[in-house]
Symmetry: D2
Subunit: 424 residues, 4 copies
C-alpha cells in the first residue's frame, strides 16, 4: 500500500527509531506464551501460523527496505523470501497460502534470530540520515507489522479453538460475568449533506484511506453503543438463524452450508452460552459487545431489529472529533468490554471492529502505487466489506477515524461486531 | 421487487392488456426453435432450462396475481408451485436450483398449455376494472418475464455451447466479418458535482432503482463506444490473462482456478479466434464489442489500458437525455454490432451490458417491500456488481437509464462487456 | 471384452441374424415410453441418457464391426464417434462422461434414424458368409446392447426419482402389496473342496468369465431365498443404519457422508415405507426382495444377521445344475417378486443382482484381448465387487451361472440385493 | 485385532517385559530428531502427527490393558481418550482424523511424560503373574506400536517433503549413487496346486493372517528381485504415465486428477531425477528398488513389462522356508538398497513393501474378535490391496511370511514397490 501522498510530514528520525523498536518488540512479547508447535500450525487457509507472521513482517523490511536501500545487505537466508512472501507477485514466487503450516523448520527460535538479524540492519540504516521516501517505507513496515499483530492473535484463537482441551493463550482463570443490565440503547442524530471523508493528514495512513473527498450523506441516526451478547441471544432465541427472510441470499446460502446457529466459538451447554476466548473457555458475558459474527449475520440482525448497518461514510462523519481512545490491545483484556452508562457515542474505537454496509471500493481518484507496495490494498477491492474502529486486539496508535479494515462477508474469526443505524 | 412508490401513474387498462399479451407471446416466439429436450436440460447451476423460464414466469402470475386476487381461481396443478418457484421463501418450498434440469415431465407442450390456462385467467381479470395495486403487480409480472426472456436465451447459448456439434439457435449461416477498422476511441468529458440519480418516474421501475437521490461525482471522462473484440485480442496477445499485476486478487484466483485465457465461448483455431453464438460457431468480429467477459476480466482490461471502469452514477449521469435506443432483441441480430463512425456517446443502450465498478448496494433510504415481492431484489445486495444499458438480447422497452442489472464478478455467460472511463 | 477363446462354436448364421434383430428391436421397444426430454437428461455422472445408450450401442457396431469390416461403409455422422464412444481409449477422444446429458441434439428421433442406418448395414453384412471372428464381434455387440438395456432402465428410474411428481415409466396403477408372510428362511449346505468355476462353454461368455479354473472352497450354507424388504425393515428399525460396529469402515464413511438411512428410493411417510419404481411411487412390499442397497449396506445387514455374504465361487458352485430361469425383463413386472413357498434354492436368477463378498479380480491366467475389445472388462478390475444372477430388468437369455456383473461398493441405483451365507 | 486363536504359546513373562520395554524405547528413539513442531503438524488427512503416534500407542495400552485390567488405575488425563483414540467406535468419541494436527498442546514433552506414566503402570502389571489373555493384549499393543513406528517415519517424510527447504530427518550428507548396473532380472518357477497359507503359529500374528487354509494356485514364476529405479525410469521415458491403455480405469482417473508423472517425492532437475528422503533431497539411485508408487502405478508398470503382479498366496508360497531377513529399520539406512548379484529370491523381506494384486479380504472362516480389538483389521476389508514383506522402515521382528499389510490402491507415501510375476 502506498502512503497517501497528501500527508504533510513524517516522523522525526528519533520517533521513527522509537516506533520501529516498539513495534518489533511488541510482536515478540505477543509471541511469548507460544510454544514452537503453537507458532507453527495453520488452522485454516485464511489463518497463518504465528511463526509465519513473525517472519513475514521481518521479510517485509528485508524485501522493501534493506535489499533495495542498504548497500551490501546480505539476506539472512535465500530460501526465506519464498517461504515468507505473502502475496506480492512483484517480488517472486512463494509458498502457497494453504501450505504455510507445513513449515516446521525453521523453528520459532530461529525465526527470532532472523528478527534480530534484520532489526540490527534496519537500526543501522536508521542511525544515519535517510531519505523521506525510505523513512516512509520503514513507517509503513511498522504499521504493516501492527496489522499482523492483531492477526497473530486472532489466528491463535482460531487454532486453540480447534483443540478440545481449550488451551488459554493467557490467564485462563474464569472471568466474572457482570450481572448488571446493559445501558439502554439510544440513537444519536447526525445531519445530512456533503461531508469530507478520507484521510486528511498529518500522519500516516494507508493508501486506501484517501484521497480525501466529498461524500453526500442523508440524515441518519447511529446507536450510542455496540450490540451486546445479550441482545444477540434474543436474536438467536427468536429464531434469527433459521428465518431466511432476514438474510441476504448469499448469507443464507453460507449459513446453511456451514450450519451457523451461533456466533463463531460459541457453544450452548446445559442452557448456558459459552465461548472460546484467548483466556480459555468462558461463559458469554451478556453485557459485553458481541464478537465473531460475519457481515451476513450482522446484516440479518439489523434487519431483525428493524434497523440497518451504517455506511462507512456515516461512521466516519459520526466519529469526527472523538478521541481515538478505547479498549485496545494495551488494556490486555483481550476481550470486548461492556459499555459504560454515560451519554454520547461510546465504543467507537476498540472492543470490536464494526461491520459497515459499504463494500471495500476505491475512493474517487484512488490509484495504487507503482511497484510492490501497490499490491498492498488495491487488489483486494472486490468481494469485501469495510469494518471500522479497531478492536480489543488492535495495537494502540494503529487505527484512526479514516482507517478502513476489510474482510469478506463470511469472515468470522476476527473480533467483528456491529452498531446499528437508521434513516431519519 | 416492489414498484417504486414514487412513480406518478401506471398504464391505462388497454395498455396493460396490450403489454401483457405482447410479453407473453414474445416468450413463446423465443421458445419456437427449441425442442422438448433443448427446453429441459440445465447446463450449469446458474442457468435454468427454457421450460423452467416459461413455467416460472407463469407461476409468478399465478402466485402473485391470480391466487390472491382472482376469486375462485383453481391453480392448474398443485405440484407446479414446488417445481417453479424460484427463490421466494415466503411462498413455500421448492425444487433445489441445481435440480431444475431433472424435470423431464411436464413436457414443453404441457407447459405451453399451462401458459394458455394462466393467460386466460389473467385476461379475464384484466377485462374488469382492477385496483391500481393489482395493475402494478401485473405490470411487474410483465417486466419480470422480460428479464427471463433474456435469461432464456443466454441459458440456451450456454447449453448449446456444451454440445461439440455447436447447434445454432437460429440461422447458422456464416456471418460476414467486417474488414473495416473500428472508429478510433475518444473520451467525452462530464462535469463533477452533485447529481440526481435513480428512477424519477413516471413509468415502471424496479424497487432497487430508487429512491432517487443526490450523488457526489468527480469530473470524469467516458469512452464514446464499447471496447471491441479487436482491442480485447490486443489484451490477450499482450499477455493480459497471465499478468497477475493487472488483476484483482479475487479475479486472479478465479481466472487461475478456471483457466481463463479467452472470453467465454471463444476458441483459437489455426491462429483465428472463433466463438459460439446463437447462430452457431462463428469467427470473432474484431470491430464488434467484446462480450462474455466477467467483471474481473473487464477490470483487468481497464487496468491494462491505463483506465478504469465507470461507476454506475457516472454512467447514469452521462446517459441523461439520450434516447433508449440501440441493438436490442427486436433487431433479431442476437449479437453485438460494431459502433458507427459518428460523434458522441454510442452504444449506451443495447449490444452488451456494461460492467460498472459499483457493487450492487441499496440506495439511501431503500427499503424492500413487505411480502413476497420484497424478495425480488433486496436480498441480492451483496457480492454482485452493477451492469448498465441492456444488451442485444434485452427486449425493447425493458431498460431505462436508471436500470440496474447485477451479477457476481465472475459471471461470464451473459452478454457482458465494458466501456472505459478515466478521471479528469 | 474378449470372447473367451475356449468356446467351441458360435451361432449359426440364421441364429445370429435373429439375435441381432431381436436385440436391436428390444432396445427400441424399451425406449417407447420415453419423450425426447426423458431420453436426453443425465441425472448423475454414473448414469447415462437413454438416447446415449441407444446411440452408443449403435456406435459399437459401427466402430467394431462396420468400419473395419464392411468395405465402403460410410459412417452416419463423423461427429457421432466423439459423442457416443464410452471409454475406449483405443478408439479416440470422446465427450466427457458427466457431459453426456448436454447433448440435446441430435434428438431421439434422429438417433432412431441412426439406428436404422446401422442396422441396415449390419444386416447387409450378415446376409453374406462372414468369418467366425466377425460373427463373434456381432454377437458381442448384441450382448453389449443387452447390458445397456438394463442400464437404460435403471438410469431412467434414477432420473424419474429426481422428479418430485414421481412420473411412471409404465403402468402407474397401485400394486397390491401381499399380506402373506414370507416363507421362512432356511439354509442349504454345500460341500467344500476343489470346484471348477468359470465359463466352460459352449456359447457366448465375456472374457472376464474365464478361464475356467479350480477354486478351493470350504463347506458352506446358502440361504434358500433373497433377503426381503420386511427383513430389511427389521434391520432399519433395530438401528442398523446408525450402528457403526456393523459396518465396514469405508461403508460407514460413505453412509455418513450421504446420510443413508433407508435403501435408495425409499421414503417413510406417516409410518409407512414407500419407494420409487418404474411404475411410479408405490408402497414397499414386505415379502418382495430388497433392492437398491449398496455392497456396504448388504455387508452390514449380513453382520447384523450373524451371517455373511457368499463368495462368487460359492454362489457359482451352488447354482450348478439349476435352470437359468426367473423373474427377468420378459415378465414385464419391472420389480422383484416374493419367493414362492417351495423347497430348494429359489430366486438364484432374476429379481435382484446378488452382492458377493468377492472383489472383481482377474481369474488365474486371464489376459485381456488385444485392441479395443480388450478394454471391455479388464481395466475395471479394481475397486468393484462382483454381483451374480441377474435382475428383473435383465433381458432373458443374457445371464448365466458364470456371469460376473460388477459395481463399486457404494453403488445403489442398480437392482442390487443380497442372499445370506454362513460357514459350516 | 484379535490374536489368532491358533497359536500355540505366548511369550514367557520375561520376554514380554523385554519386548514391551524394547518397543516403547524404540519409539522414543525414533522421535529423537523431532522438534515439538515437527511432531505436531499433520501434512495430510492420511498422515498423523508424530506426537499423535506416540500418544495413541500409549492410549492403546491405557484403554485395552490398564483401564480394564489394572485395578485402581487412574488415567493420566481424562481428555486424552478423545484426543488419541484412532478409530475404535467401541471406545467412544474422538478427535476427527483430519483435525489431529490442531493439537499443539499437550506438547511433545508432555506426551513423553504421559508415556512414562503409562509405562510404569504396565510394568507394574507385568511384574506380577498375569493371565494369558492379558499377556496377549500386551503383546498386541507392542506389535501395534511397531506398526505406528513405521507410520511415524513415513508421515514425517511426507511432512518434510512439503517444506521447500527439504529438511532431513537424519544425516543429510549426499549419498553416493552406485554406478554398477543392477543384476539382470530372472524369474524363478513355482509349482501349482493346493498350498497351505496363513499364519500357522507358533508366535504372534494379527487376526487377519488366519485362519490357515488351503489355496489353489496355478504354476507361476516370480522375479528374483524388486523392480529398480532404473527400470522405472525406462517406464517413465517410454511414456508409461501417459498411455492410458496400460492403466486400470480407476488408476488412470486418479493419475489424471493428481497429475502423476513420477513416483511420489521425485523431481526432475536439469535432466536428473532427484527424490526426497529421510536424509534430505538426494539423487535417485538407479540400482535401488523403486519406492513410493501406488498399486495403480505398479500394475501399469507390470502391464508395460508384459508381466503381472503376484497374488498374495503366490508371494507367501514362494517365501516359504526363507529367513525373515533383510534391510529393515535396524540397518538405519532408511532407504531401499540395491539387490546383490547372487542366485535365488532376494529382497523378499525389507527394502519396500510389495504390492500384490490381491484385494484385502477375509480368509475363509475369518471372524473378527468381540469387543474393541475386533475393529483392528476386519472393518478395513474393502477397497484396499495387500502388500507383503516389510520395508526399510519396518522394525526388525515385526513381519512374517504370513503378514498382510494393506493400503488403498492410490496410496503412495508408504515405502511401497513391486516385484513382477508371470504365468507359466
Amino acid at each position: 500500500m502506498e502512503r497517501v501522498r497528501l500527508f504533510e510530514s513524517t516522523l522525526a528520525a528519533n520517533d521513527l527509531q522509537r516506533l520501529f523498536h516498539g513495534v518489533r518488540s511488541a510482536s515478540e512479547i505477543l509471541a511469548g506464551p507460544l510454544s514452537d508447535a503453537d507458532a507453527t500450525v495453520q488452522s485454516m487457509p485464511d489463518a497463518s501460523p504465528a511463526k509465519w507472521h513473525l517472519a513475514h513482517t521481518t521479510w517485509f523490511f528485508e524485501a522493501m527496505v534493506l535489499r533495495p536501500h542498504l548497500s551490501g545487505y546480505l539476506p539472512y537466508d535465500a530460501g526465506f523470501s519464498f517461504l515468507f512472501n505473502s502475496y506480492y507477485e512483484t517480488l517472486g514466487a512463494r509458498q502457497p497460502r494453504p501450505g504455510r503450516g507445513m513449515i516446521t523448520r525453521p523453528s520459532l527460535s530461529e525465526i527470532l534470530v532472523y528478527r534480530k538479524y534484520v532489526d540490527a540492519a534496519v537500526q543501522k540504516l536508521l542511525s544515519t540520515p535517510i531519505a523521506r521516501d525510505l523513512a516512509e517505507l520503514v513507517e509503513l513496515g511498522c504499521h504493516h507489522e501492527q496489522q499482523h499483530q492483531e492477526l497473530l492473535l486472532t489466528d491463535i484463537l482460531h487454532l486453540f479453538a480447534q483443540n478440545p482441551l481449550h488451551p488459554a493463550y493467557r490467564d485462563p482463570a474464569p472471568i466474572a460475568v457482570g450481572m448488571q443490565a446493559s445501558p439502554p440503547l439510544s440513537f444519536i442524530s447526525f445531519d445530512g449533506g456533503l461531508h469530507e471523508v478520507g484521510h486528511a493528514g498529518p500522519g500516516f495512513a494507508f493508501d486506501s484511506e484517501g484521497p480525501r473527498h466529498q461524500a453526500m450523506i442523508e440524515p441518519f441516526r447511529l446507536a450510542d453503543r455496540l450490540v451486546t451478547n445479550g441482545e444477540w441471544i434474543s436474536f438467536i432465541e427468536d429464531g434469527g438463524y433459521s428465518n431466511s427472510l432476514l438474510w441476504l441470499s448469499e448469507g443464507w446460502a453460507r449459513a446453511s452450508a456451514d450450519n451457523w446457529a451461533l456466533p463463531l466459538y460459541w457453544e450452548k451447554r446445559d442452557g448456558q452460552y459459552w465461548t472460546m476466548t484467548l483466556r480459555g473457555f468462558q461463559p458469554v458475558n451478556p453485557t459485553a459487545p458481541v464478537a465473531h459474527v460475519s457481515y451476513f449475520e450482522a446484516d440479518a440482525y439489523a434487519t431483525w431489529a428493524g434497523k440497518r448497518l451504517p455506511t462507512e461514510s456515516e461512521w466516519e462523519v459520526a466519529t469526527r472529533g472523538l478521541d481515538v481512545d478505547g479498549n485496545f490491545l494495551d488494556t490486555t483484556r483481550l476481550r470486548p468490554e461492556p459499555a459504560r452508562p454515560r451519554a454520547g457515542l461510546q465504543q467507537m474505537f476498540g472492543d470490536v471492529w464494526e461491520w459497515t454496509r459499504s463494500p471495500f471500493t476505491p475512493y474517487p481518484r484512488f490509484r495504487a502505487a507503482e511497484g510492490a507496495v501497490g499490491e498492498y490494498n488495491g487488489k483486494f477491492m472486490s468481494g469485501q466489506f469495510v469494518l471500522r474502529g479497531g478492536s480489543c486486539l488492535t495495537p494502540p496508535g494503529h487505527v484512526r477515524a479514516s482507517y478502513r479494515n476489510f474482510f469478506p462477508g463470511h469472515a468470522r474469526w476476527q473480533f467483528s461486531g456491529l452498531r446499528l443505524a437508521e434513516d431519519i
